[in-house]
Structures are given as C-alpha cells and as structure tokens.
Symmetry: C2
C-alpha cells in the first residue's frame, strides 16, 4: 500500500494512553473531580484552539509565538493550541459577566500543548487542573482554594510528611519591605525586584544591589531574618498591613479546621512579580530526591480587563499539571496496583453448546449491571483463561455441555482460584445483583 | 493595557462549556462510559497532534491537507490536529501488536478538529465516541459492536420508535450482485460502483449505466426489489454466500436477545466503497424532521498495514459525534431538566456569628461526603439565597446568633421550601451521611 512503513511512535512529548494508562488517568481525574465537586466547584471547559492574540496580549507576542503551537487558518486567522487555561477562562467570564452568579467556583481539566524541550515532569501535551474562584476579594476565597489543593492531595492518601503548602502574601511582602527599608512605593518596587532575583545571583551581587538602593547591612540582615520567621513574628513587623491581616486570618482559619499542619509561611514565595497581587502559594514535594515546587497559584486582579472596558473581576486559583502530580504519586507510592475492584466476568465458550445460550447468559449479566463479556472466537479453554487474566477479568463463567444439561454454570474466581457451581438462573444473584 | 478590546467569542465552530453545558456533557459521556464498561470495553486515548502523513496515507494528501488543521513545527515536522481516531488507534495497535491480548474491545471519546463549513450537526471542534473490536474475524464481533450502539441509545431512554439500525453486508452485497447480474469479480465491482452512486444521479442515468454494463431490465428490477426485502428473502438469493450467512446469523442473534426490534436489513447501506469489507450499518434517527443517518460503521481489514509489514488485524467499529447525538436527544426530549439530584448545601452567613463557626460546619459536611460550600463574602441573606438558587444548590443552612446559642441550625429545602430545625451535631445525619 505504502512503500515506506509509518512509525508507530507518538509525536515527541505526547503520550499514548493504552487501557492500562487510561485506567490510571481515569482514576486520577476521577478523584480530583469528586473532591472538587464535594466542595461545590463547578466544572467548565473551552476550545482547544484560541486566537493567538489572547496569549500575545497576556505574555507578549514573542513568548506567545515561540512557546505555543500556532498557525494561520484558511481564513487568515492566527490561532494557537492553548498552552494554558487562564486566557480562555477570562474570555468566558468576560463573555457572560452579567449572567453569571459571582463568586464563581470553577475548575477544569483541559488538555493543552506547549512547545518546549521535553524533560522529567515536562511534556508537550499535558492535562492541567485549573481551580479558581472569581469575584470574591477577601482572604476567604484564598483559603477555599488552598483547602481544595490540600483536599485533593489528601484524597490520594498523601499526608503532611509528603507535601507542604508554602504561603506568602504580596501585599504583606510590599508592606514589610517598606517597613524595614523605609522606602516609598517606587523604592519598595525596586527592592522587590532585587529580592525576587535573590536565588539567581551571588550573595555578593544581591547585597551590592540592595546597598545601591540605600539599604544598610542591618536592614539587609532584617530582610534575611524574614526567611526564618513564622507567620506571627513576620506579620508583627507591620501589624496594620492589610496583607499581614490576610496572612494571619488565613493561618488562623487553617488551624481551625486542622489543615495548618500542611502549611507554612514562607517569605521566599513570590511568583510572577507583575501578575499576583495578594496571597501566593506553592505546594512542595517533601521527598528529598524531588524537593521542589509541584504547582502553585495565588490572587490576581483584572482578569477580564482585556475584554471588557473598566470592568474588574478578581480571581484566585492555581494550575496543577498531570505529569507533576503523577510523579509525586509514584515517588510516594500512592498509586494502587489495580483500580478495578469491581466484578468483571468473562463468559467462556465451548463448541458443544449453542452460541445463543452464551449470548443470553452474557446479556442477562449486563442487564443486571454486571460488567461482562462473551469470549469472541473459539480458542482452547486455556487461551480463554489467559485472555481473562490479561484483561483483568475477576471471574470466568464456564458452561459446557454437561453443565448446560444440568442447568448450572461453574464460576471460577481468578484471584482466589475458587470454583463454585451455581444454578444458571441464580448467576446474577451470585454476583450480588 | 491594550488599546483594542479582545473578542469574547470562541473561535468559529468551537464551543465554550460553561458549567451548565459541562454538566450536560459529563452526564452524556458518563452514560456512554458506563454502558460500554458494563460490556467490558476498555477506554484508551492518544495525542491530539499526529504526523500529517498518518492521514495522508489513509485519505490522500489533498484531502488530509484541506480537511485538517495542519502546520509545520519548529523541527520541520508536518503535524495535524486529529480529524478522526482510526489512524491513531491503528498506530497504537501496530505499536504493541505482540503485547496486546486480542481480541481488543476498545473505546475512546477524544476531541478532534475538522476544517469545514459549520452547519447543524457539524462543528469544527467535536468529540467523537469510537468503539472498535480488533482481532476477531467473525460476525460475533460485529454483533457486539451493534449491541453496544443500541445499548448506548437505550441507556438514554431511546426506544425503537426513535431510531433504527440499518444493516447490510459488503460480502453479501458483492455476492448477490454477482448472482443477479451473472458478472465476474471485475464486472461486479463496476456494477457496485453504479449502485453506490444511485442516489446521486437520476433514475435514467442509473439505468443507462447498468445497461451499459450488460444488465437487462429484468436484472435491474431484481436489484430494485432488494431494497424492499427483509433479510430472509434477500439472503435466499445467494444462500451459500459467506456474507449471507453472516447476515442471517447476525439477525438470529439479535432476535435471541430481543434487540431485533431496533434493526432492519437495508440493501441501501453501502458506506465507503473501498474501505469496508463485511458488515456495515447506519443508525437512523426516526424523527420525521431529521430522518437521516446519525452515525455508522462496519468491518474493515488491514488496520495496521501502514505500520507493520505483512501484518493483518481486522477491525469492526463505529464513530459517533457528540453534536449528532445531542441533537437526537434534544429532538426526542431525552435530556432531563437537571442532572444534580444529589444534595448540594450552601452554608449562609451572618455577621453576628464568628466566621470560624461556619468554616467548621462546612468542613464537617465535606468530611461526611456532602457536597457543600460556605457563602464567600458578606452580602444580605436574600442575595445569598439568590446565589444558592442560581448555583443549583438544593439546601441552605442558616445559623444566626440565636441558633448558635441554642446549638441548632435551620435547614431550608430550596425545592419544597420546607424549613427544619436540626441539632448542629446531627446535621450530617440529617443529610443522610
């Protein structure tokens, strides 16, 4: 048909989900969905293709063009495969500003693409959970969002030895710098920029930059000490700061419902300097071999500004990639060996019994809601058993000529190897239906 | 920020799924998944992007380029967003030929894109259920696949007045034409091509073409009569044809399990002339205003030939688009008004009660598995009730200062308007947890 055979490999950075991988993924997303729905979050989704300008407007044309899969359609529109969900959700919220009932509690698990070098935890095609609350300005929404992240990890069996939520607040960050450095707004902004780059430069360069902005060695030391402080000591430096109040309220509420053991205050959490405006947090994997931020988020403003003039909707949320979360679950051995705990029955076949007898039997099992199928084909019994084992069936039903005559079937439990003889009319009851 | 405001419309031919639409979709896909899993089908999925050559090899370069969204990546690879699932699943089966346990019973509900003019039932982004059995040559696999389609529609509440499965067999089709026309293989192929175009040309042109191939008026009339025949009469014309045997066995089996009332033999069902090799079927909507094929499928051979030399894996299956199925459900009023029958509780707030009291209450509901949230913000009670109604909450919990003092809460059922006073410690039990 074709001189050259085609490759069976998926495109670089993407994955094939065979049934085994798909079972894992469905288990995975199922737990996330269930956890969020129990907390009254509503699921949404949007198109895989969006106008490229949506990403260019947020991240700049160059980044948008380089990091997305983008192209021009036959109608000369510049399109991109979504590399993130925020521009889509902003467009959707802006499109129904007057119909939607705020605050919105929304989540989505879209597939998306980024054009990047593939490495551990980074693929070109991935799924990303997005959880956001829109239209609530208080720390209570920040709390809800952080609780949801903790609840998801707990639902997978993770405990406080495995992960830590590191929390800071950008308003507090600005206020405490102003309090220590004695700078005005512009001065504080410049100091923030230096602090933001702290881990990217040498200690010497860091101190030199702060000194150039007028900070004394003592002031620099006071900023250093913030990294060691708990929330009480840190917020005591500028107790009247709105950000300090938010931080204290947030930690008090977490204590109230016993979730404070997963959380610490961390002055080192800053995130995108120009994007976040209040609470910011990152969830760290505590495993020594992988001790880094898995995902994070925070409060941002002016979500819909690109779409609606003079409108303001604040948001707080996070995005969690499926590859990162899966790596975490693997590291901490939180993925069970099998997901199918339910009964799954293979009706085996012998040539001396009419096909329609098997058909009726299988159909009655399905009608009773029992997962089942009839072996297709006419291989030897041993091969049919092999097929059942590989396909993760839990039981096989055996009905040869002698069983048919006696009005019974044999049921073999593939795990315990136990064999039972059951009246054909009581088979569905045998499986508890 | 941006001089020109961006549009809030999604890209042409795609859809935004706000929570209401997403609830419908989750209900929709949930029913399909459950039905197929009960029949022991396994879900799989693959990447959204594939090599363009996968589609070019199947449909020709021109069609593949015109009908897909395709582009060249930074590594100079020609890629396409998948317009269908068959090439992906063929690649996946070919890639693990020796590890997989045949017959495979696979399904998938991928999102895909086609570049086409949008109209009713046709969008550019859609989801398509794909159900296939690979590696079983007998009519039994065809039967399983047809049963699955009927079971899915039945699961939505559709009955035989609403849809009909029209079934033919390509081997029978070839044999019965040879029997009536007395043609050899090549002659039958030419006659088939004329019959395949029957509805696209005038009756006059049709007869003229058949006459040119040597058919008499009587032979043409005998072919005409096939369109009126049931399976018994039609297959009696060439009783020894393998295709006739398959058709008779298929209908006998459908009768055996009471599904024959959804099915008819229809000589007019041909489908892609060069693609299908055995059983073919189409599922028709019986509604007078929409009486047309909703979806169809059949048996095809040589699935993996493009990837593996001299390997043969047969397949039988179908693809069902989400838009088509949704239109069918709307036409027949099979979509319920609400999908959330479960309890969903909004804990309302008053300023005279400390926030942490509400927080603990809400948290205890969630711990008990009851879907619930605490109202975020501090609006008037009436506004909070409005929010609950719009958000499809079923109950609100009311705990003002006097209730707190008495150790009780009030629960209002938003549907019945009934109000109950419940001991705060018995609230989860009140909701049945």
């Amino acid at each position: 048909m074709c001189a050259q055979l085609l490759s069976t490999q998926p495109y670089k950075g993407t994955r094939d989900f065979y049934p085994d991988e798909m079972r894992l993924r469905n288990w995975f997303f199922g737990k996330i969905r269930h956890t969020l729905e129990t907390s009254a979050f509503d699921e949404y989704n949007g198109p895989m293709l969006e106008s490229l300008e949506l990403y260019a407007a947020k991240s700049g044309e160059e980044i948008a063009t380089k990091q997305t899969y983008n192209f021009v359609d036959h109608g000369n529109r510049m399109l991109a495969i979504r590399p993130e969900m925020t521009p889509t959700v902003a467009r959707m919220v802006a499109g129904k500003m007057n119909d939607l009932s705020f605050p919105l509690r929304w989540f989505s698990i879209p597939n998306m693409y980024r054009y990047e070098a593939t490495q551990r935890g980074r693929l070109r095609e991935f799924w990303q959970l997005n959880v956001d609350i829109f239209g609530c300005d208080t720390y209570e929404a920040d709390l809800e969002v952080i609780i949801s992240a903790i609840r998801i990890l707990k639902a997978f069996g993770a405990d406080e030895s495995m992960f830590t939520v590191r929390i800071n607040n950008r308003r507090f960050f600005n206020d405490v710098i102003a309090a220590i450095a004695g700078t005005d707004a512009e001065g504080s902004r410049l100091v923030s920029k230096v602090i933001d780059r702290k881990n990217k430069v040498t200690r010497e360069a860091y101190e030199k930059d702060l000194t150039a902005l007028g900070l004394s060695a003592e002031q620099i030391a006071r900023i250093d000490s913030l990294y060691e402080m708990g929330v009480e000591d840190a917020t005591a430096i500028c107790p009247d700061s709105v950000g300090a109040c938010e931080l204290r309220s947030l930690f008090a509420a977490l204590r109230q419902i016993g979730l404070d053991r997963y959380c610490v205050f961390d002055f080192g959490i800053i995130r995108g300097l120009d994007y976040y405006t209040g609470t910011v947090f990152e969830v760290f994997d505590n495993a020594p071999e992988n001790n880094r931020a898995m995902f994070g988020g925070g409060r941002y403003d002016n979500l819909v500004g690109l779409f609606v003039k003079n409108a303001k909707v604040s948001g707080v949320g996070y995005g969690m990639g499926d590859v990162t979360l899966e790596n975490f679950l693997v590291t901490h051995k939180l993925i069970p060996d099998t997901f199918d705990t339910d009964v799954k029955v293979l009706v085996t076949r012998f040539d001396d019994v009419p096909y329609e007898k098997y058909l009726t039997l299988t159909d009655s099992l399905r009608e009773a809601g029992i997962t089942s199928s009839l072996y297709l084909g006419s291989k030897k019994f041993g091969k049919q058993i092999d097929y059942a084992v590989k396909g993760q069936y839990t039981h096989v039903v055996i009905m040869g000529g002698s069983e048919l005559e006696a009005g019974v079937v044999k049921v073999k439990n593939l795990e315990t190897r136990e064999e039972s003889t059951v009246s054909a009319t009581k088979l569905t009851a045998f499986f508890g239906a």
